[in-house]
């Protein structure tokens, strides 16, 4: 049957594409469904220097190579689609996309994560008009200007340092009194003369006309809110797991991450998980690839029983 597969992989990032490669190469009829562009968070990375075996590449190039590999083994891939319903309950799993229902004997959830928004007033209005989520893309628009970086992890601190190539000043605003980044990243940021810090604070709203003119900053300890004039804000506050579609169908922890064992099995029969949506400590392309391969091998064993 046209819409019937052995395995459906929900997500076409590093984990999903790797699962697709392993499954298809093993002659398992496989479909990858991806709601955005294939590549997932890899596409958000301009330069990748630590993927073993490849000295330097872009996230886009690596994504396209993985996609091409999966397709070369016969994997079907559909991207930019909307998944309206997922039913993991029966022996045969069902995924509804528009008017089509795809079925499979097993599912690998590789839905990854999405950038967190602050969710405050003006954030949608000023996207691209003083609010950015990509330093490499938009840094040069802020040459000689005063900018804010929101966040406290590796991305926030590393991107703040890279933005000092362009900006006159960079103010890092973070909700906690300490950073979550690696010690080296913190040291480099603190040693940079252009960077200052506002801790235990967050942005309460964005204001301006055709672009951002000022923000309101809230001290989370005293609850004082004050205005700060600014030319631009870069937001790097981490990722949220894309697990909403699977609530009440698989075990999920308090952070929205899907719980699995070392074989990538969830608590639901015939459902496996791989990549950043999974409960895990280290989120890198390499660990996503590993998850994808392990999930694929165990899924093959499952469907052949």
């Amino acid at each position: 049957m046209e819409n019937s597969y052995d395995v459906i992989v929900l997500g076409g990032g590093a984990a999903g594409l790797t699962a697709g490669i392993y499954l298809s190469r093993a002659k398992v009829k496989t479909l990858i469904l991806n709601e955005g562009m294939v590549g997932g968070q890899m596409v958000l990375t301009y330069e990748i220097a630590n993927y073993p075996g490849i000295e330097l590449t872009s996230g886009y190039q690596l994504s396209m190579t993985m996609k091409k590999q999966a397709e070369s083994f016969g994997c079907d891939i559909k991207q930019n689609i909307n998944i309206s319903e997922v039913d993991l309950s029966g022996e045969i799993k069902k995924v509804v996309v528009g008017e089509k229902t795809y079925t499979s004997k097993a599912i690998i959830i590789a839905s990854g994560g999405r950038s967190r928004n602050l969710g405050v007033q003006g954030e949608g209005t000023f996207k691209g008009r003083g609010i950015s989520y990509c330093a490499t893309c938009d840094g040069d628009f802020y040459t000689g200007q005063d900018i804010i970086v929101v966040g406290g992890g590796n991305s926030a601190l590393e991107e703040a340092v890279s933005l000092t190539k362009y900006a006159k000043s960079v103010t890092i605003i973070h909700q906690f009194d300490h950073f979550q980044a690696f010690e080296h990243a913190i040291e480099v940021a603190k040693a940079n003369e252009k960077i200052s810090f506002i801790m235990k604070s967050s942005i309460d709203g964005f204001y301006g006309d055709e672009k951002v003119k000022y923000v309101n900053i809230k001290n989370l300890e005293t609850e004082e809110v004050y205005k700060k004039e600014i030319d631009g804000v870069f937001i790097f506050i981490g990722y949220a797991a894309n697990s909403d579609k699977f609530k009440n169908q698989v075990a999920i922890n308090n952070y929205g991450e899907i719980i699995s064992d070392n074989n990538m099995s969830t608590n639901t029969k015939g459902v496996f998980v791989a990549g950043d949506v999974r409960e895990k400590k280290i989120r890198q392309i390499t660990t996503a690839v590993s998850d994808g391969a392990i999930a694929a091998v165990n899924t093959i064993e499952y469907i052949q029983k």
Binding site: Y60, Q79, N80, G128, R129, S132, F141, D209
Partner: protein, 113 residues
């Protein structure tokens, strides 16, 4: 050069010729970065769905792209890509930064059909 499967606008003169000789045109001016690539990918898929619209891209950093960079509709834009929608040679919509396929479709349906 942009590594997409879209036709490329190379010069300002070509840009003028395209928007004057095609009723409905969408041009995405960007680089090959994470905010731009998803827009090109969406456009590549929309080509078949909207045969009456011409989908093209343009290198943002090309000196010839001043026709988009300096367009009055792009005042205040500080995020790549700059995406322009033309109807009968006039700008009917301009957006900054990444747009998802659904958002692009809404703009096309509202302005270029």
């Amino acid at each position: 050069m942009l590594m997409t499967n879209l036709e490329h606008v190379e010069t300002a003169a070509q840009h003028k010729e395209i928007i004057e000789n095609n009723e409905n045109v969408m041009i995405c001016a960007g680089r090959m970065g994470p905010m731009c690539v998803p827009v090109y990918a969406a456009m590549e898929e929309l080509k078949e769905e909207y045969p009456n619209i011409k989908f093209m891209d343009m290198e943002f950093d090309s000196p010839e792209a001043h026709v988009i960079r300096n367009a009055p509709e792009c005042a205040g834009f500080m995020g790549l890509p700059f995406t322009m929608y033309y109807k009968n040679g006039k700008v009917v919509k301009a957006t900054t930064s990444i747009q998802m396929k659904d958002q692009i479709k809404s703009i096309l349906d509202e302005n270029l059909l």
